[in-house]
Amino acid sequence: MDGLGRIVAEHPFFAGLDLPFRELIAGCAKNVRFEAGDYIFREGADANAFYLLRDGRAALEISSGEGPMVTFQTLDPGQILGASWLVPPYKWDFDARAIDRVRAISLDAVCLRTKCEENHDLGWDLMKRFVPELSARMQAARLQLLDIYGRKS
């Protein structure tokens, strides 16, 4: 397995991935680096990748209307960044910014979507990894929406 394939396979998101899938995914992968404060992507831009965070943390930010930008989630190494590449019209819904220097694997969205169309077993494997992530984030968003600490109790 080449370097990228090994890095992909060692990332917690892809734990236990079958060898043929690793190679397919590694074919869409490249190493990327962002300095602290750099945007990884901006709201409204094309969601043409998703990221496996390896080092450094990232903040997800959204505009609160008139007010300043609000961070609603931070992500640590070992987590993934971005799901909009899966959902048409493939645009980012928020900004992502590097808090520290971030090293990550970027997976090209068009390349991955094409491979998933061609190989539904790969697509299904990816879905089984993504859906629990999405469900956990939806649960977290619900709790944040409830503003549990802000309530007068």
Partner: protein, 290 residues
């Protein structure tokens, strides 16, 4: 044998009257924690007798002319010359705390209730998990852990707040974080760009905390929903429900298991609690008011 069948009632009425009598304390110090939360140091007004309590217990604080509220003790149980309470201003009585000045007098009844199971924590890992003002009743437990650090294995403190401005005991948390033998993680629900710490709910911190499920006690206090999700995450990690302790800050009145105001099923929160093991209160945590 006593011939008077009412004697027992008469005795318990006298004992009850005694238990209902507040002691007078002076405000020795008052400081702002957040926009709506204040911490008070109280010193006994009438005697130099100290005030003993166990971590997790609470007092009934009486503001003359306004009324009485249950408030957890948030200071160090080994410092008996001073009582520390942190109060969030949420309604008719607690709002009155904003007007208290240094030297003012308030009434104190207590301490009441069952506290945190510090003995049970001995020899194992300890997780202290607080949400919002839930850090106040847990702070005495933390002082206990710090004062007797060699009795415990890994100690982790996980704290969730609404935003950076809502973090209570801010400077103290900074000091805890510098201790090398304690893991302290703080997260907020949302923040502006000046905050460089964690943002997000507390459950992912619980999911990745380091502990040995076979030998860990978790002490949890916060809003009911938070305690429910935290307990579920701990159970998924293999921690038994009877090793997870939660503090139920239920509305109460007499604090001596007499009026029934705080009764939840078989438990009087004021006497059997406020700290109860999760296996005893799992169903109760689903009820809206908790």
């Amino acid at each position: 044998m006593d011939a008077n069948p009412n004697a027992a009632t008469a005795v318990s009425s006298a004992a009850m009257a005694d238990a209902m009598l507040p002691r007078r304390f002076h405000v020795a110090r008052k400081r702002n924690e957040t926009a709506d939360t204040l911490t008070f140091d109280l010193a006994p007004a009438d005697t130099s007798d100290g005030f003993s309590f166990a971590p997790g217990q609470f007092n009934m604080l009486y503001l003359f002319g306004l009324g009485e509220v249950p408030i957890s003790i948030s200071g160090d149980a080994e410092q008996t010359d001073r009582l520390v309470h942190t109060v969030r201003l949420v309604g008719s009585v607690t709002d009155g705390f904003a007007d208290l000045k240094r030297g003012d007098t308030i009434g104190v009844r207590g301490p009441y209730g069952a506290g945190w199971p510090m003995d049970e924590c001995n020899g194992g890992d300890v997780l202290v998990i607080a949400g919002g003002l839930g850090l106040a009743p847990l702070r005495p437990a933390m002082y206990h852990l710090f004062n007797h650090r060699d009795h415990y294995r890994r100690v982790s403190i996980l704290y969730g707040a609404r935003s950076p401005a809502d973090i209570v005991y801010h400077d103290e948390i900074q000091r805890w974080r510098q201790q090398l033998d304690i893991n302290v993680e703080v997260t907020v629900d949302h923040a502006d760009l000046r905050w460089h710490g964690n943002v997000g709910v507390i459950t992912p911190l619980v999911a990745k905390a380091e502990f040995d499920p076979a030998n860990t006690t978790a002490l949890v206090c916060g809003p009911g929903i938070m305690m429910r999700f935290v307990a579920a995450t701990l159970e998924r990690r293999g921690l038994a429900s009877d090793r997870i302790y939660v503090s139920l800050e239920r509305n109460m009145r007499c604090a001596i298991a007499h009026c029934g105001h705080c009764q939840l099923g078989p438990h009087f929160v004021c006497k059997d609690g406020p700290v109860l093991s999760h296996d005893r209160v799992r169903d109760i945590l689903q009820i809206a008011q908790v």
